[in-house]
């Protein structure tokens, strides 16, 4: 039996591979970790956000970097799986030596990475998850939320519903933390307007025929929808032949006025429905916004860019400005600098609240309508809501 030889060979190989991966990290550029989905159903959000991060890094480095040091981002695929994202965050921290991480998209994954950030005392900037638990019950010193929470979103949506004269509201969305958070906030924001029905469907479902008839049978005159992206697309297509969007006042949460969604649905997008978005490539409100869009267009190779680029871009600028202000990349100093920090963004100044670790970023709300010269509907008029 020569088996033991292979035992030794195998053992040496495993040991070797472990040592091989432990090469030392260079200290010179400041590395920022990025944990976002680049595969699976949410990949397009992750990839678009990374484009935004990339543009911000380019601009910052062209302007001389941070305190003389160049900036670099290191991206890892979260696979929209909390275990994978946690391991990736630990790898970024212990091997790449990052002191700050941008991530993630879904609330569960963001909370998982936040837990790592808390343990490892590293800054986590959550660019796209709205769940209020991130900076609510799970708030800690090192986590910051770079997007309006469900509480803010509920206030904006409730105002729209009130403006439209809604008398009785029913609500629908995926059975998921985002939706339950949002609906809870809606209840207090709507005040004396009664909620006559709440319809949750299982996450990932794309057959909405039952839901549509339930909503139509309900006594409500207004519907607040919260199905996101693909779910909304499927819902809109399935609801159209039922005349659903003509039968009720419909207002949609979850930023479905985005170019991502309107481009998909084209003429199937419900005409005149009110919804929101983080950014539009066709918004021409300021020089800064135009410059940002030109930069993203160059990276993506199309001028019709997705709205998530802004989230990545803004997150990177927040971290970079905080590091400049702190004069170091030490997480405790960066946290202190981030608290109360105001930065200029393509949509105007945004402040990170010192106490709540939440931002007051403006978002767009308005009706999505057919515009001349485009087969994709657009928001018009555009309202920038702070």
């Amino acid at each position: 039996m020569k088996n033991w030889k292979f035992g030794i060979a195998g053992g040496v190989a495993v040991l070797g591979s472990m040592l091989a991966v432990s090469h030392a990290f260079a200290a010179d550029p400041i590395k920022i970790g990025v944990v976002l989905p680049t595969s699976g159903g949410l990949a397009s959000y992750g990839l678009t956000m990374i484009d935004g991060v990339k543009l911000a890094v380019q601009e910052i480095n062209d302007a001389g970097g941070i305190n003389g040091r160049q900036l670099e981002y290191v991206a890892r695929d979260s696979q929209t799986n909390p275990n994978v994202a946690s391991a990736a965050a630990k790898e970024l921290i212990s091997k790449e030596g990052v002191k700050a991480i941008i991530g993630a998209v879904s609330s569960g994954v963001t909370l998982a990475v936040s837990e790592v950030a808390k343990q490892e005392k590293v800054v986590l900037f959550a660019p796209a998850a709205r769940a209020k638990s991130i900076t609510g019950e799970k708030l800690h010193k090192y986590v910051f939320q770079g997007i309006k929470t469900t509480d803010d979103e509920a206030r904006d949506l409730a105002n729209i519903l009130k403006d439209q004269g809604a008398k009785k509201v029913c609500m629908t969305g995926y059975d998921y933390a985002y939706t339950t958070d949002l609906f809870e906030a809606m209840k207090s924001e709507l005040g004396n307007i009664p909620i006559t029905g709440e319809f949750l469907v299982k996450l990932g479902t794309n057959d909405f025929s039952t839901l549509i008839s339930q909503l139509q049978a309900n006594e409500c005159d207004a519907v607040l929808g919260a199905l996101f992206s693909g779910g909304f697309v499927a819902f809109a297509k399935q609801a159209k032949p039922f005349g659903f969007f003509e039968s009720k006042k419909v207002v949609w949460a979850a930023s479905v006025a985005s170019t991502e969604v309107t481009t998909q649905l084209k003429q199937d997008y419900p005409e005149g429905m009110w919804a929101g978005a983080f950014d539009f490539w066709y918004y021409d409100g300021s020089e800064a916004h135009k410059k940002f869009q030109d930069g993203i267009a160059k990276i993506e190779g199309t001028k019709e860019t997705g709205m998530y680029a802004l989230n990545g871009y803004r997150a990177m600028y927040f971290i970079a400005e905080a590091m400049k202000k702190a004069g170091s990349d030490d997480p405790d100093a960066v946290v202190a600098a981030l608290e109360g920090l105001t930065i200029e963004t393509p949509l105007g100044p945004v402040t990170m609240d010192a106490k709540t670790h939440r931002v007051d970023a403006a978002e767009f709300y308005g009706p999505v309508v057919t515009v001349a010269g485009s087969d994709v509907k657009r928001m018009s008029p555009i309202n920038l809501v702070k």
Binding site: T38, S39, G40, G41, L42, A43, S44, L47, D175, L200, V201, K202, G204, T205, N206, D207, S209, T210, L211, S213, Q214, A217, S229, G230, G231, V233, A234, K237, Q238, K240, P241, F242, G243, E260, Q264, L265, K266, Q267, D268
Partner: protein
């Protein structure tokens, strides 16, 4: 709510249209399952390919009726070609191997197909409209109902009858049924079993793709669209009985009604209900409602 006849009529139609769309996909799975004895995890990925092919064809033809139906056929043809290559050069070498290897082979296909789809079409979501001739709704007297969904309600039984005639009345069907019962005997009698297997795999894959193309106007076409449909198909096949055509028809109806009325009654706990149902059937009648117990099981 349950006393409102219009509402109930719509719910029944909803159950039927969902069931029939799933049936077209699941009947192909049960065919592969029954004849090849392979748990095909890649069935959802085949379904996804169909939807993407339809999207591309509609994109180049424009959103016309011709574009849509060409796309549906193209979905089947493209998938059949891919499946033929996969079966000939890879899968056919595994027939005499362990179940585990076959199962993992289809799992490998899932991983490869999903990434290949992402390389070809990107990671964005796409959407396809209903074909123009079916974009409206039909007055059924009691209520209006979308034409396309009615079309699915009618297409399902037609597919079932077509498959049944094919299996019962043709020589090919007899060979297939024989292959399901005893492949060694069939081989000994001089039939080229490998050709039978190849044909079943190709037809099954093409049907999954056509099912995906037909589902495309109702859903968002995205890289994650395969994950749930495969579980739905497993549930249907298990409830109905592996290899049983009418079993999967009834299984699809049960799942369709369970999904719609389960959602109405149990609300979001319906998610648990379907798995309980699946486990229940497996325990009481592992061979399904319409399947036959196998002699070799111990």
């Amino acid at each position: 709510m349950f006393t409102n006849p219009t509402f109930m009529a719509i719910q029944v139609l909803n159950s039927l249209s969902l069931a029939m769309n799933l049936f077209i996909i699941a009947s192909a799975l049960t065919l592969i399952f029954g004849v090849l004895r392979i748990v095909n995890f890649a069935h959802g990925a085949f379904y996804m390919i169909g939807a993407y092919v339809l999207y591309s064809v509609v994109g180049s033809f424009g959103e016309t009726d011709l574009g849509f139906w060409t796309g549906v056929i193209a979905a089947g043809v493209v998938m059949a070609a891919v499946a033929y290559v996969v079966e000939r050069f890879l899968l056919s070498r595994l027939y005499d191997k362990e179940h585990l290897l076959q199962l993992l082979f289809t799992f490998a296909l899932v991983l490869i197909i999903k990434d290949a789809v992402k390389m070809i079409w990107g990671s964005l979501q796409y959407s396809v409209s209903y074909p123009p001739m079916m974009s409206g709704a039909v007055n059924l007297g009691i209520t209006y109902y979308p034409t396309y969904l009615l079309f699915l309600c009618i297409l399902g039984p037609l597919v079932a009858i077509g498959l049944w005639l094919g299996l019962e009345k043709t020589r090919w069907g007899r060979i297939l049924r024989a292959a399901r019962l005893d492949r060694e005997m069939l081989g000994a009698l001089g039939t080229d079993v490998t050709k039978v297997f190849s044909a079943v795999f190709v037809i099954g894959a093409a049907m999954a793709a056509i099912g995906g193309a037909l589902a495309a106007p109702r859903v968002a076409v995205d890289p994650g669209m395969d994950a749930l449909v495969i579980i739905d198909c497993f549930i249907i096949v298990i409830i109905g009985g592996i290899g049983s055509l009418w079993g999967s028809f009834v299984g699809a109806l049960i799942l369709g009604f369970l999904t719609v009325f389960g959602t109405l009654i149990f609300r979001e706990w319906e998610i648990v209900l379907v798995y309980v149902m699946m486990i229940g059937v497996l325990l009481v009648r592992p061979w399904g409602l319409f399947g036959q117990p196998e002699a070799e099981r111990h």
